[in-house]
């Protein structure tokens, strides 16, 4: 956001309720909402775990210990071990890193791509708008699993491919939002005024239109993080995700599913963090949305 919180005149004269809250105020407002607080806690936990995964994991997440296969939870292995004797707690912790990297890289890529394409579609000539819309709709109508299958069959699975496939499939939603907002703003008087001063399209787009649509876009993006985490887990579950032996949660689930008769712990170890991460980011996103855009609030 472009309004600096340090500006005393600006913050003192803000009429109540018109401007979005900033800085420390946001955290206080999240903390006031119990769901928001829960979401914030879970998300923070996940981020901290992901950031310090290498130090937190008690064992090597891909270290095989065949003598300890299917170990039940114990003090040595709080979540037990899998079919190759790998410590599940370590794998879950390492998996959080993968989930986070995929989620943030993907949403970031999709946001930048959606922003640029949406701005071009909204501000550019009619034919370009129509072409881009056709492109967005084509991607939209394509099931992401099919796209992932096709791309991974062609290029093989890698971290980068997974991120790219998810980013490309989520991009149209952002681009459409940006395009619609741009269409609404591009004929406003201040854009006309900038044009009359001689401002060129890039300046108008990035200095005058973009700051006005970034707010709603960031809210949608923050609410998409859990979706992306589940999509990545889904792809990994199908064997299309991050290539082995990287311990993605989806892969842990998949492996646990094969051995559910021997040890049901594996499925729980892979599923629980996925559920908690999704819930955490969803609650956090909804809480943020309510704070930044009270008009979208559903309950009174």
């Amino acid at each position: 956001m472009s309004v600096p919180a340090s500006d005393p005149i600006a913050s003192a004269a803000l009429p109540a309720g018109t401007a979005a809250p900033r800085g420390a105020g946001v955290f206080r407002q999240i903390a006031r909402d119990p769901m928001g607080l829960l979401g914030l806690t879970l998300a923070t936990l996940l981020v901290v775990t992901g950031l310090f995964a290498d130090w937190l994991a008690p064992y090597d997440p891909i270290g095989i210990d065949v003598r300890n296969r299917f170990a039940d939870p114990s003090w040595a292995h709080p979540l037990g071990t899998d079919n190759l004797g790998r410590d599940l707690l370590s794998r879950v912790i390492a998996g959080s890193q993968i989930a986070l990297i995929v989620a943030f890289c993907t949403t970031f890529l999709a946001m930048i791509g959606g922003l640029v394409l949406g701005l071009i579609a909204g501000y550019g000539p009619r034919w370009l708008d129509n072409t881009l819309l056709l492109l967005f709709d084509s991607i939209y109508s394509f099931p992401y699993i099919m796209l992932a299958l096709a791309v991974i069959t062609l290029f093989g699975s890698s971290f980068f491919i997974v991120i790219l496939v998810i980013a490309v499939t989520t991009l149209p939603a952002y681009a459409r939002l940006v395009r619609t907002s741009t269409l609404g703003i591009k004929n406003s008087e201040f854009v006309l005024a900038e044009r009359s001063l001689g401002a060129r399209a890039p300046r108008i787009l990035f200095r005058h239109i973009m700051p006005n649509i970034l707010g709603p876009l960031l809210i949608i993006v923050s609410m998409d993080i859990p979706v992306v985490i589940t999509v990545e887990a889904g792809l990994s579950f199908l064997g299309l995700g991050v290539p082995p032996p990287a311990p993605s949660w989806g892969r842990i689930l998949n492996e646990g599913y094969s051995f559910i008769r021997q040890s049901y712990w594996i499925v729980i170890a892979g599923g629980l963090p996925l559920i908690l991460a999704t819930l955490g980011f969803t609650f956090l996103g909804e809480s943020l949305r309510d704070i930044f855009d009270p008009k979208l609030r559903k309950r009174g």
Binding site: A10, P15, A19, L197, G198, A199, R207, N212
Partner: protein, 329 residues
């Protein structure tokens, strides 16, 4: 005095339907002319008022002059050069010399920028890197009578009058020769309207500015305009010195507009020229004189033959077959 702006036979048309859709709907002419056959000259250092009802094409004309709306035909000469069709550096130079103030004082300011960023934007756009932006911001704020601490404010923290002053400051940043002001007094309290008009008059004296003022406020025109034109359905129906037109309106439409003004003296009876009916649609222009459908003086000839502009009195041109001040009649 030198002519700063010379507009000839200007025409601006808008497409109402796409080519394919018009074919399908059987519309032969999917265009409407927002500005039609407009010619006038604006002398340096003077103020020209453009008057007309909503939708008469005043704002479109102003935007077309600045190249914000594409022109169908006609020429615009500014300071000797023809800006239409210009690109790159020539257009950039033109935009430095001709600035526009838009109708809504607050909405014409980019909402996420501070006042300082807004009024120094022209320097950045035109690549004047050697300027000290802080000093320029202070100079401009001082020029329009705002305290220097307004530099850190955002548009939503300004009142209409303050926002208008910021608009004036931004328009003046690059010391242009011509300022096109679209409804400079719209949405302002009467006292603030006066302040803004006085400010504009003072700046005109100090900087030798030329104004083109677009308004439907006849009082504003009477006070500050040297010359004026009345627009009806995209055409100039009458054009000439303000004092002459107010004293002796020649076109029945002008007469009707002036008579519709409220008068402070209740004893003075209104002259009985009421304009009847509505402005016809631009998509279906009446034949002959566009005004004949509402004109109290319309005769047979008005519905068939289009009146060409005639200079009835020196300096005062109008389009009417039967003007109110016909020396021949």
């Amino acid at each position: 005095m030198t002519v700063l702006l010379d507009v000839k036979d200007l025409r601006v048309r808008f497409r109402t339907l796409g080519a394919i859709r018009a074919k399908l709907a059987g519309v032969a002419d999917p265009f409407l002319d927002a500005v039609l056959d407009v010619s006038f000259q604006l002398r340096a250092g003077t103020t020209f008022g453009l008057v007309g009802e909503s939708g008469s094409g005043k704002s479109t004309l102003g935007r077309a002059i600045l190249g914000l709306t594409p022109i169908e035909s006609g020429t615009i000469r500014f300071d000797g050069m023809a800006p239409m069709g210009l690109s790159g550096s020539a257009l950039s130079a033109y935009r430095r010399n001709a600035a526009m103030m838009f109708q809504d004082p607050v909405a014409s300011l980019s909402p996420r920028l501070t006042v300082k960023a807004l009024i120094t934007e022209p320097f950045v756009i035109h690549g004047l890197k050697d300027r000290d932006l802080d000093a320029e911001a202070r100079r401009l704020l001082d020029m329009v009578g705002l305290p220097a601490n307004f530099a850190g404010r955002y548009p939503h923290q300004l009142s209409g009058g303050q926002a208008r002053r910021v608009g004036v400051a931004r328009a003046l940043a690059l010391e242009p020769k011509l300022i096109i002001a679209d409804e400079p007094t719209a949405g302002l309290d009467v006292s603030v309207q006066g302040e803004i008009l006085n400010l504009m008059a003072r700046l005109q004296r100090e900087l030798g500015l030329t104004y083109l003022i677009i308004t439907h406020n006849l009082a504003v025109v009477r006070h500050i305009c040297d010359e004026m034109a009345i627009m009806y359905m995209g055409r100039f129906v009458e054009c000439g010195p303000t004092a002459e037109i107010f004293a002796n309106p020649g076109h029945p439409y002008t007469h009707g507009l002036l008579a519709a003004q409220p008068h402070p003296d209740p004893d003075r009876r209104r002259q009985d020229v009421e304009l009847k009916g509505e402005v016809p649609s631009l998509a279906r222009r009446p034949s002959g004189c566009e005004f004949h459908t509402r004109c109290p003086r319309a005769k047979e000839r008005c519905s068939t033959e289009r009146p060409e502009p005639r200079e009835i009195v020196p300096g005062q041109t109008l389009r009417c077959h039967y003007p109110l001040l016909d020396p021949a009649a």
